[in-house]
């Protein structure tokens, strides 16, 4: 595996990075990198464009936040519960969505996500427009206090590595090969005897659960779960991250998340804050028109052509 040295190098960078950069910002990037990687599992490797992935991010966040506030459970249990609830919701939505293909799949996922958005807006436990505030970070295993940002960052890094490893394993497993076969030629996969919808469904569940994991972790980092994470804008953002980084590449979503989160952070601090959505829309259009393979995809092409 050629990417192994690169992974070790990146891990090394991630371990020392909080000495130079604000840990909460880094943790945010890691959460979105995990979210985008989970989304890319579906788009890049199974060829399914979901326009409602924010709902899994948000659900993971709400469930974990609610448990941390009301149950006194330790954070790792709350995060696992959040992940499972995202997976469960993914099982229901996936079952419905895989009945349709292509653009219908995109519309179905968007509409289902909007349905849940309205439910969360009305439901008493989410805090509606105000969101769920003051979520305690708690102590992992009842031992490690997460209130320190540095400690929190390393906890997030551990979760990210676990999630990323799982995606990496899925992509390189026999299951992942079948997923790619479906992406490339669905009818042929069917003719070879694979139950295509079953494979898509399982991929959807894994992707939803990992997105919820990202949301659950993000809630702990920011001590907040809000409707922003469920809004369709967020579903658009994760598509943009994946697109900018490179659809269907292992490292693309990481790079994309880093670029977009940094851009948002930089812009929202300065005069250009008001132009954020305009700029995001423009980046979308430019990427689609002339940069379809994304940053990592371009680098891979460059390497193939020159080395």
């Amino acid at each position: 595996m050629q990417s192994r040295p690169l992974m070790i190098l990146l891990l090394g960078v991630a371990l020392v990075a909080p000495m130079f950069i604000y840990p909460v910002f880094l943790a945010k990037i890691l959460c979105f990198a995990l979210f985008a990687s989970a989304f890319n599992l579906l788009l890049g490797f199974a060829g399914l464009l979901s326009f409602g992935h924010a709902v899994f991010l948000g659900t993971g966040g709400y469930v974990t936040g609610w448990l941390m506030i009301n149950s006194g459970l330790t954070p790792e249990i709350a995060i696992i519960a959040g992940t499972l609830s995202g997976g469960l919701l993914g099982a229901v939505f996936g079952k419905l969505a895989v009945k349709r293909e292509g653009i219908y799949f995109a519309m179905v996922t968007l509409a289902l996500a909007q349905l849940v958005f309205f439910l969360y807006l009305q439901a008493p436990f989410t805090g509606g427009e105000d969101g769920m505030q003051g979520v305690p970070r708690g102590q992992v295993f009842g031992l490690i206090d997460l209130s320190d940002n540095q400690t929190m960052y390393y906890f997030v890094l551990a979760i990210f590595v676990a999630g990323f490893w799982m995606i990496h394993r899925t992509v390189h497993s026999p299951f992942g090969q079948v997923m790619k076969a479906i992406r490339e030629n669905e009818s042929r996969a069917t003719s070879l005897g694979y139950d295509v919808n079953q494979y898509k469904w399982i991929a959807f569940i894994i992707s939803a659960a990992l997105s919820a994991l990202a949301g659950a972790t993000k809630t702990l980092v920011f001590e907040l779960a809000s409707l922003t994470d469920v809004h369709w804008h967020m579903s658009g953002e994760v598509i943009l991250m994946t697109l900018v980084g490179g659809v269907g590449t292992i490292f693309g979503p990481l790079v994309g998340a880093g670029v977009i989160v940094s851009m948002q952070n930089y812009l929202s601090g300065g005069e250009l804050g008001n132009y954020l959505h305009i700029i995001m829309g423009a980046v979308f259009i430019i990427c689609v028109l002339s940069f379809r393979s994304g940053i990592v995809g371009q680098l891979q092409k460059f390497r193939r052509n020159n080395f």
Binding site: I103, A111, L112, W232, I278, M280, F284, I285, V288, L289
Partner: protein, 295 residues
């Protein structure tokens, strides 16, 4: 108060009227989506933004150019259509041979940008547009009060929908359109300029959204996010009806408006979600949609 079996007819008919109005807009928007889908095989995510653009152009035209409602009804859809033609020609056509998901993402980016620009210029709060004088007032019917403007919306949108259907099913232009939907290469081989037809179709599809926007301006507040809110509902409607037939898109739009109106009367808490719930049920029972051919 007129009641029947414990139902307050006055309130029920009022909600059904609101439902029919919403349904008129759903029908216009999903009709535009279906026409564009037929030839371009993409869903125009910017359809909601075009609707918003139509409403804003009407508002700004009145404010700065003294363009009245009647003139706006003609000029604004044309302007939106020209904008759409430029978008199709210079942004969508270059990537028409790529995976259709890219065109979809392009229109999504465009929608984000347009919404962002209008939010930046006019803020996110809604603005109001005065009902034209000729359509003020209303009629008192046995069980309800029918404001003239609302009656006008229903009549115009049904007329527009029906004449579009007629044009596609019965005219020469419609024949080209349907032939292009079936087999663009063959049509091109007959010497028809297919790329031109595709561009004009896109222009016509978004013009319908622009027209809906002008008509919506006096009854809904004109705000940058008006388009995205309605568009997601229209997507659910398109999934319910399927995009196989033009008539199906119109009927599903009107029908879902009525369903929403009924829900507002019987169980208001679910009125925001009912159409999505119908979509879930349709997906379970008839995945191709009510009027769809195959999945």
């Amino acid at each position: 108060m007129a009641t029947f079996l414990g139902i307050n007819l006055f309130a029920l008919f009022g909600q059904l009227l609101v439902g029919l109005i919403n349904g008129s807009f759903y029908a216009l928007l999903s009709l535009g989506l279906a026409i564009i889908f037929g030839l371009l095989k993409i869903i125009n995510f910017a359809q909601g933004a075009m609707y918003m653009l139509g409403a804003f152009l009407a508002l700004l035209g009145l404010k700065y150019l003294g363009l009245n409602y009647w003139a706006a009804l003609i000029i604004v859809p044309l302007a939106v259509s020209v904008f759409g033609v430029l978008i199709q020609r210079f942004l969508i056509r270059p990537i028409a041979n790529e995976d259709h998901l890219y065109s979809l993402l392009l229109t999504f980016g465009l929608a984000l940008m347009m919404q962002g620009i209008f939010t930046h210029l006019f803020g996110s709060s809604g603005q109001s547009y005065a009902t034209p004088d000729a359509l003020k007032g209303g009629m008192r019917l046995p069980f309800m009060y029918l404001p003239n403007y609302r009656a006008w919306i229903i009549v115009v949108s049904i007329l527009v929908c029906f004449s579009t259907w007629w044009m596609i099913e019965k005219t020469k232009l419609g024949v080209y359109l349907r032939a292009g939907t079936e087999n663009p290469q063959l049509l091109q081989a007959f010497g028809i300029n297919v790329p031109l037809i595709v561009t004009l179709t896109f222009g016509f599809g978004v013009a319908l959204a622009g027209l809906a926007g002008v008509m919506a301006a006096p009854i809904y507040s004109v705000s940058p996010d008006m388009g995205s809110n309605i568009l997601i509902i229209v997507f659910a409607i398109v999934v319910i009806g399927g995009m196989g037939s033009i008539g199906g898109a119109i009927l599903t739009g009107l029908g879902m408006g009525l369903v929403e109106g009924l829900t507002k009367y019987f169980y208001p808490e679910a009125s925001a979600t009912i159409i999505f719930l119908v979509m879930v049920i349709v997906l379970m029972l008839k995945p191709a949609g009510l009027f769809g051919k195959t999945a």
